[in-house]
Amino acid sequence: MKTRIPLFLVLVFGIVGIIPYYSQHPIIQGSENFIRNDVIRIVAAFALILGLGSLLRVHFDKIRRSRPNWQYSYVLIIGFVVSSIIGLLGGRVGEGFLPTQIGGFEFHMQVLFENIIVPLGSTMFALLAFFMASAAYRAFRARSLDATLLLVTAFIIMIGLLPLGDRISPHLPSFVQWIMDIPNVASKRGIGFGIALGSLATSLKIILGIERSWLGGSK
């Protein structure tokens, strides 16, 4: 019972996902649309909160057992609680009943997003430019014929993409476009076929109940 019902459901809803590609009959399109908009959407909405539960539990645990860097878990939890209150009660752009403005100073959710989440997120990835530069100097070697071919192509692309490349020769940017349109497409399409067949196999095995790891540990 614990496995037969889930496996039956995964098969039924798998078929519901496949059929509308093969029939445009209003009854089929309409019923699949209802299932997607009303069942799948609402069911999935709960999953969003689930990930949150485990995150908070990890950090409460870290504080209770005072594991290394437990002090920062307080920063995480306080940051979460304060921003949730401002967001839930204050509304997405300050339209809620909790006042999110004192004089000219606004602090509703959109302000927090643009001034805390955006700078932190984009600076995190800006670090990569430095790691790239350091790796370029100390690790990227033409250690084999393959690596040499890779680096030569990369140099052509890196220069061809720049306005400088256009000044060196008007043919360079079009040569870069040629590399992207022909050899690059050929290799990525060849690799892509393998990945497509792999994901097709995985989806099929899930629907037919052959792949069961998603059932989780407890049998």
């Binding site: 496949i18 590609y21 093969y22 029939s23 445009q24 009959h25 209003p26 089929i28 399109q29 995190m124 990835f125 670090l127 990569l128 790691f131 790239m132 350091s134 790796a135 100390r138 690790a139 990227f140 070697r141 033409a142 250690r143 393959d146 690596a147 890779l150 680096l151 990369a154 990525k188 690799i191 076929f193 393998g194 990945i195 067949l197 792999g198 097709l200 196999a201 995985t202 099929l204 095995k205 037919l208 052959i210 792949e211 790891s213």
Partner: protein, 361 residues
């Protein structure tokens, strides 16, 4: 101007044989009108489509350019329509005979999806056949991946230099296929390291992958009769933060100076930091991942790179696990089908005038 003068002298010849039929294989509410070109097609502007519900008074519903013979009209199901097509040159138009009445209705099968259905049955059939065959225990051959020789050499070299081996599984979770494939390769590396009694360090960034890997390493040591070699301090959980994990591994590389680094699994941008420090410490580095965006960096920073699907093949080769073997074999035969489709379609496309591309629309 010339067209007008000509037209003024002779009346325009109208399009002929106007047919109206329910658009096949659609969701209804559409009628396709077809006709034969008017003999004066080359000098007219185009064709006007006129519709009537009683066959008497017609109103214009559409217009198409010269030398076009088809038009799809949006209609209401359950209402009969008559159609006339007029050849139009500037302001002069001549009407064709009216078509017989037509009624639009939905069909259950969308026949433009026929090729998609055939492809699904072929590829699905191949995959299921090999699952069935693998389950029955039939011997399935897979060639040895060149990367696995590099793995053996690397562990051998670390033993000669009396230095530990570092195995990094990346930041993937159990839902990443690359992490699962990496665990199978870890089992093999642990056996090799155990035989040579070379220490094996395995830092983790995902708690679940960590618990699975610990069991795998312990089981590998017992399978070569050396359960005593398992050291819990060598297989440990570091942190879930992407960059802190990379920084911690750099620390291990600089302190422990492993002679062989395995970077096999799911990686993202932090791969740069790890591969760089490994290159500086002079260790042999074997990388393997299916995250295509990181592969270029591994190829230039590491001594050997297992590329994309080779990782799945290596894991199947080592573990001999039926499900993994059936996946590789099924996909191989799928590739054969793609080879065949490319070859046959190209022959047809080159040698005959048949518009082969419309098949794959």
């Amino acid at each position: 101007m010339v067209a007008l003068i000509l037209v003024g002298l002779f009346a325009l010849a109208p399009p002929t044989n106007v047919q109206a039929l329910d658009t096949p294989g659609d969701g209804g509410e559409a009628i396709t009108v077809e006709w034969q070109l008017s003999p004066d097609d080359n000098i007219i502007d185009g064709y006007e489509i006129h519709r009537s519900e009683d066959g008497v008074d017609f109103a214009m519903v559409g217009f198409v350019g010269r030398s076009r013979t088809r038009y799809e009209d949006n209609t209401d199901d359950g209402q009969e329509y008559y159609y006339k097509v007029a050849a139009l040159a500037d302001t002069v138009r001549t009407f064709s005979e009216s078509s017989p009445p037509a009624l639009s209705s939905p069909q259950w099968f969308n026949n433009s999806a026929l090729i998609l259905l055939i492809a699904m049955l072929i590829f699905g059939g191949i995959i299921l056949y090999y699952i069935y065959v693998a389950r029955k225990g039939k011997e399935l051959y897979i060639r040895k991946i060149a990367g696995l020789e590099a793995v053996d050499d690397a562990v051998g070299r670390a033993t000669e230099m009396g230095k530990p081996v570092l195995y990094v599984i990346g930041i993937g979770t159990m839902s990443n296929i690359a992490s699962i494939a990496s665990i199978n390769i870890l089992a093999e590396v642990a056996k090799k390291a155990g035989q040579y009694e070379t220490p094996l360090i395995v830092p983790h960034s995902d708690p679940i992958v960590y618990t699975v890997a610990r069991e795998v390493v312990k089981e590998s040591y017992t399978s070569i009769g050396r359960p005593d070699l398992f050291d819990p301090d060598k297989v440990f959980f570091v942190t879930q933060s992407q960059f802190a994990y990379a920084a911690a591994i750099d620390g291990i590389m600089v302190r422990e100076r492993p002679a062989a680094n395995f970077l096999i699994g799911w990686f993202r941008a932090e791969s740069l930091i790890i591969a760089e420090t490994g290159a500086i410490t002079g260790a042999i580095q074997i990388a393997g991942t299916d995250s295509v965006s990181q592969l270029p960096f591994f190829v230039t920073a590491c001594d050997y790179t297992i590329i994309g699907e080779e990782l799945y093949a290596a894991s199947a080769y080592l573990s001999r696990e039926p499900m993994l073997l059936s996946a590789i074999k099924g996909e191989d035969v799928g590739k054969m089908v793609i080879f065949a489709a490319l070859g046959i379609a190209s022959l047809i496309g080159l040698l005959t005038r048949f518009p082969i591309l419309t098949i794959f629309q």
